[in-house]
């Protein structure tokens, strides 16, 4: 058996210096172990008893925030042969994701309980999706980006179909799954061509290789197109937005809330890792593609949203238009542009979380469990029946429209600033015009709430914790207008 000496220990690479790597990976490892433990506890505690799962999930996420803050001291190390990077951006995004998921769970629970949808799986899949986002935030290699993305997407597909008896949800899940699979295929195809040309999957090595090339290989532009398509799909930018309205409307509102918030951070960090960390030398080429995506998203998102009569669908098109703004920030390809895009993403997630939380807290008298508060006309006269919720909705809608006294104003301002600074005056003008078009449908919601008579009385769920978190969320919209620098300084420093 001469094959024995091939397998001898000596021929294996030394593993001892990898121990340090595992220590730095602590937050992700903790997250995985905790989630698996909660999975088992949820299994044996019985399906009805989801309170325990809920509390343990929140505890896990809180511990995660501490671990991530503690992980700041390992900043700027690259581990696992360049698979994993820990830098300011990764940590900042991870902390934001964990905070967002905590808020999502708190908002979602009263809704789930009210409709008998509450099962441990909601939190388990949510936690696994969070793990996927954390992996994406630290990815420094095509393979890790892709695996993180798939982990996130698989959980989201399952969550959309989570309420099995609803036909709309099943249809939305199938659409999301099929389109998502095609987008993943596109992304992988682009990655494989880049690998074929550069001979490496590592983003920093790709960047180094490209920087040393004198003339641009046309195959790379071809590959870049596919990679940009993959990113645009994850963002939901026009013309890869087909899934957004259907999924937002078809999924149970609690799941829509999840999809509309935390994964936006993941899409942002994926764009930064792929386009900035890996393909920065092709900046001129992807800038043109992002301009097209951003312009189309701004125009189509805002114009089509006007025609919507259902608020979840309207918010879906509004998301598309906000994504246009994020892309406007990204396309400048320099650090202030990235920082403004990150600021916009964070503000958008704050606004979307609050808006969907209000939808979750309200309920109509319909006996159909699968029918959520969705029609715009449901909001008529909300200020009389629920003055506080209506006021928070007013703040959120003003913020989405970009009206001063709300942080949405600064978010738009910084993106426009980066555009003007990079001589994209026409794009800045277009963005402003489209924001004014968009203001129409945000203000219409306010008009319904404050100036119209009550048609159907909505009741609200008795959920003190969710209402308290929602109030903080709504007031942050104003608070961050007064002190935008707290958030902006972080956003700038991670790209410093």
């Amino acid at each position: 058996m001469n094959s024995l000496d091939i397998y001898s220990i000596d021929s294996l690479p030394d593993m001892s210096n990898n121990l340090m790597d595992w220590l730095v990976l602590m937050p992700e490892i903790f997250m995985l172990l905790a989630t698996s433990t909660i999975l088992m506890i949820g299994l044996f505690a019985g399906r009805k008893d989801e309170l325990l799962t809920y509390i343990l999930s929140l505890a896990t996420l809180l511990v995660m925030i501490f671990l991530l803050v503690a992980a700041n001291k390992y900043n700027d190390s690259i581990l696992f042969d360049g698979m994993y990077v820990i830098d300011g951006l990764a940590n900042f995004i991870k902390i934001l994701v964990c905070i967002t998921v905590i808020a999502v769970f708190v908002y979602a629970r009263p809704y789930l309980l009210n409709r008998n949808f509450a099962k441990p799986e909601f939190y388990i899949l949510g936690l696994f999706a969070t793990l996927g986002m954390l992996i994406m935030a630290s990815a420094q290699n095509f393979i890790t980006i892709y695996l993180g993305l798939e982990l996130l997407s698989l959980c989201l597909y399952a969550l959309v179909a989570y309420v099995r008896d609803s036909n709309n949800a099943s249809e939305a899940a199938i659409k999301y799954f099929v389109l998502g699979a095609i987008a993943s295929g596109m992304l992988l195809y682009g990655m494989s061509i880049v690998y074929g040309i550069t001979g490496t999957l590592n983003l920093s090595e790709i960047s180094l290789y490209l920087a040393n090339q004198n003339d641009v290989n046309i195959g790379l532009i071809f590959a870049l197109t596919f990679i940009v398509i993959g990113v645009a799909f994850k963002f939901g930018a026009v013309p890869f937005h087909m899934w957004v309205p259907d999924v937002y409307q078809g999924a149970p509102t609690a799941v829509t809330l999840f999809i509309a918030t935390a994964p936006k951070f993941a899409a942002f960090v994926m764009a930064i890792r792929l386009l900035s960390d890996g393909l920065q030398p092709l900046h001129i080429d992807w800038q043109q593609m992002l301009i097209i995506l951003a312009v189309l998203s701004l125009i189509f998102g805002n114009v089509i949203a006007i025609a919507q009569t259902h608020i979840k669908r309207m918010l879906a098109y509004s998301t598309i238009s906000h994504i246009g703004f994020v892309l406007l920030g990204l396309l400048s390809g320099e650090s202030f542009g990235y920082a403004s895009a990150l600021f916009y993403t964070a503000v958008y997630v704050l606004m979307a979380a609050g808006t969907f939380a209000i939808l979750l807290l309200l309920k109509n008298d319909s006996s159909n469990l699968y029918e959520d508060v969705d029609k715009l006309s449901d909001f008529k006269g909300l200020s009389q029946s629920h003055p506080w919720l209506a006021f928070l909705m007013l703040l959120l809608m003003f913020s989405m429209a970009g009206v001063p006294l709300t942080v949405g104003f600064y978010a738009k301002l910084y993106v426009l600033q980066s555009l003007v600074y990079n001589d994209f005056i026409w794009l800045a003008v277009l963005a402003v015009v489209m924001s004014i078009v968009g203001a129409f449908y945000y203000l219409r919601v306010i008009k319904y709430m404050y100036f119209d008579e009550i048609e159907d009385t909505l009741t609200s769920q008795n959920a003190p914790i969710a209402t308290a978190v929602l109030s903080i969320n709504g007031l942050l919209i104003v608070g961050l207008f007064i002190f935008p620098n707290y958030l902006l300084n972080y956003c700038v420093s991670v790209f410093g």
Binding site: S3, I6, Y7, L12, P13, M15, L25, L32, S36, L39, L79, F80, D81, M83, Y84, K119, E121, I124, L125, F128, L131, I135, N141, I143, T144, L147, G148, E150, L151, L154, C155, Y157, A158, A161, Y162, R164, I193, Y195, G196, I197, T198, G199, Y209, N217, I218, G219, F222
Partner: protein
Amino acid sequence: MLIQSAVFYFFAIILVSSAVAMITVRNPVHAALFLVLAFFTSGALWIMLEAEFLGITLVLVYVGAVMVLFLFVVMMLDINIAKMRAGFAKYLPVGLIVGAVMAAEMVIILSKSNFEHAQVKPKPPDYSNTQELGELLFTEYVYPFEIAGVILLVAIIAAITLTMRKRTVSKHQKPHQQIHADKTKRVRLVDIEK
């Protein structure tokens, strides 16, 4: 070299035509069988690329396990082909044009000269594919390998979440009650008048 190219084109033609047939045939069982053929020939192509382990795995896992299960499912489901194929003729011309344009663009752009950097050096004859893969998976690629494991776990959870229902009408045996049954619970004595 000539023989190698000939073998390659032989497998490539079978692969492409079975893939086309898989989409176009009317019978879903035939479609699944054509997919098996496509997997099998791509496995052969991988072996030609000296990726023996992957080629064998493709045949074992996909052909041997996945597709057989898939065939069972296809045979048990009553799929209405006519309804699924509605609009096929309508979309065919557009699809053909888009496909042809994309294929032409790819042929123009992705010429061999683009990939000069990534020339693979031939390996020595005693090179073990399996050992090399194993070493890479547990050293350089251990982090993505673990993530792939988590993805599989999520797939299990998602599948169970979406399909498991507590059946209240299902009839199953309760061994505990069966053991503790005696004749008083089972036999009823009835006086029958003559």
